[in-house]
Symmetry: C2
Subunit: 392 residues, 2 copies
């Protein structure tokens, strides 16, 4: 096991009706002027936004609003938010929504105190040293952004989707999580979110760092719980407890609970980012396409963790042949993603029958280097093969 | 799933050599005058105390020392510490040791700002509103006190062992955790610690709150990892990775990771506290005696969670008869505690062939009420039966 620091100081306030505590929580964390960030109509239609505003007003907290964040959040919305922040001068950010909304708010929080272009942070040209604090009201369990210091933004000029990781500076102070708010999510969005959180766990699970048995067991437990609850929630979207289990899994999948003491592998996420940056697909759906291909490739080239996953999570009996079992597990997972989550698991099913694999692959290695050095050593030929395995 | 708040803001700095960061961490959390609290000789003999002092000196932090904390920490040491604190006026507490040392430091931290007797906090007569902040250098993985706001102290006049739970006020700011420091622990202490942390998980697992599948899976994963690693560490005390896995399990067993959204059952702990308060036995050993008896009783009276444990963790095949499987699982665990950990699993093996069960039982219910209302409803007759099941 490698040395590690585990620091997850977000206060998670979880359960029915918890959104009414938003104002109180903002106040406790020092907010007096709040910028509310949100997406489209559902937050408004459901009455959630109104409730949040009322709870702010009840605490004497003033606020401004930045609506209109879209899935796959983009730089132009961040610039708009930074303009608004300049005039309103908030001392606290409050995204109400899912990962896109939170990531946009984090970008504004980091950019607020910076003289230059906030994008500098996302290309490693500069590092934020100060940021506005933020709290979150979560409505879509998926990205895990409510418990992480991570943010991902797409540059609309270059089509590059880049991430920034500031575990101390950009981790939310609190996250209000009411599973009831997720009951009206469309099935597609629910399923994409589940796909995303499963990928977050697998990226941590796929590691060559030996001897992190507790991390493996925690990750396997999360996957078992998610898969059991996903089957329920896809049948009955109003199943509160299934929603609750899934919502919490989405958070701990990404707050480092199962990352401890090992190198993670974020290259399937990176491979997906190229897909969604180019074709604007839903992130979780892109992952459902890439992940089985990634595991299939691993089954031949480095099967041991995939075989363990197959045995402990996917119901594959141990045949003594890791490659065989890994491949069988991959097929179980691929079928499950398709049959239970109704996710696309190939480019063709994603509606992109002829993707420009060379373009994405070139961008991928331009961004991440010649060799992706993670669970496997992947050069351009290897990643191209993985992209091809995802074709159909 | 019940509503819950999860808030675990301790910064865990884990791995080889991390004790050299102690001074730096103290400084980061605002310490200028530190009271070091520790137990007996091993912290001195190993050179750890010297290293910690050097790292404080390197940061210009002054300190005083309170040595001599014994296992099953007692009120008189707290009074001694409070006297010392009055003259030295520390602004930060730094226990270096295991649960007893940390719990003593927490009691001093809470008592420091209180005019009355610190024991008032432990009998519910008063509630601390302010406490000295504390950081921890952990040397014995067991109690989980490094990641919790809990402290347990024994009153030497009344033989009552009472707890105080202040998740916000008494949770350590940081915990330095170097598994190497645990390699020289005697086998008995290693095994007692493992027994203690397994009990912490089981107390959270045994719950009637339905639909917390993720909490169950996390708890099961922790138990699987602990049992695998325990077998290794009992064979080879110098097995770093086994030590590391166990050390981290001890923390997450008690920092609420697997408590989310359900009522816990702390009555086997309470039953053990009566044993160690009366007979001054090692807490983990007392738990190894009480827990199998508790599970055996549950196998008849409320088997469902014990049966699930048997199926998912203890290798018992599902026979369709929960009571049968629960009892079989109990026996597997009891045998494992005895054969692998070399723990006593009966009062007789604990060296108390004729314990005063009536006395302990009376004290238990005087402290906890007529009915212990947890995973089971236990009146005095029921707890007496459990004590009796532990006789031999």
């Amino acid at each position: 096991m490698n040395n590690f620091t585990f620091y997850s100081p977000t206060e998670f306030v979880f359960g029915r009706g918890t959104e009414s505590q938003t104002g109180e929580l903002c106040k406790r964390y020092g907010a007096t002027r709040v910028m509310i960030v949100y997406g489209g109509g559902s937050v408004v239609r459901s009455g959630l936004l109104e409730k949040v505003k009322e709870s702010l007003q009840a605490q004497g907290i003033s606020f401004c609003e930045l609506p209109g964040v879209h899935p796959n959040p983009i730089d132009t919305k961040v610039y708009e938010g930074l303009e608004l922040a300049k005039s309103f001068q908030p001392d606290f950010m409050l995204p109400v929504g899912g990962g896109s909304t939170i990531d946009t708010a984090k970008a504004i929080a980091a950019g607020y105190y910076y003289e230059g272009d906030f994008w500098d942070f996302y290309i490693g040209k500069a590092k934020p040293v100060k940021a506005l604090p933020l709290g979150v009201v979560l409505t879509i369990p998926a990205a895990g952004s409510e418990g992480s210091g991570n943010t991902v933004i797409t540059n609309t000029r270059t089509h590059v989707k880049n991430g920034l990781r500031m575990p101390m500076l950009l981790r939310p102070k609190f996250a209000v999580m009411n599973p009831e708010l997720t009951m009206t999510l469309p099935a597609w969005q629910t399923a994409s979110g589940i796909s995303d959180m499963m990928a977050h766990i697998l990226e941590r699970y796929l590691s060559n760092t030996p001897e992190v048995q507790i991390g493996d067991r925690l990750a396997e437990g999360m996957l078992l719980a998610i898969m059991e609850m996903a089957e329920r929630v896809m049948k009955d979207p109003m199943d509160y407890d299934a929603r609750a289990n899934i919502m919490w899994c989405g958070t701990i999948a990404h707050n480092d609970t199962c990352s401890l003491g090992r190198q993670e592998d974020w290259f399937s996420h990176a491979m997906e980012h190229e897909i969604s940056a180019e074709y604007d697909v839903t992130h979780g759906a892109g992952l459902a396409v890439i992940f089985p291909a990634f595991l299939q490739y691993a089954s031949t080239h480095n099967p041991h963790k995939v075989a363990q996953l197959a045995h402990r999570v996917l119901g594959v009996a141990d045949s003594g042949n890791p490659s065989h079992d890994a491949l069988q597990g991959t097929m179980v997972l691929k079928t499950w993603l398709h049959d239970v989550l109704h996710m696309p698991v190939t480019f063709a099913q994603l509606g992109i029958p002829s993707p420009d694999l060379e373009l994405m692959n070139t961008r991928l290695h331009k961004l991440k280097g010649e060799i992706l050095n993670g669970y496997m050593q992947l050069d351009a030929a290897a990643t191209l093969e993985i992209y091809k395995l995802a074709l159909d």
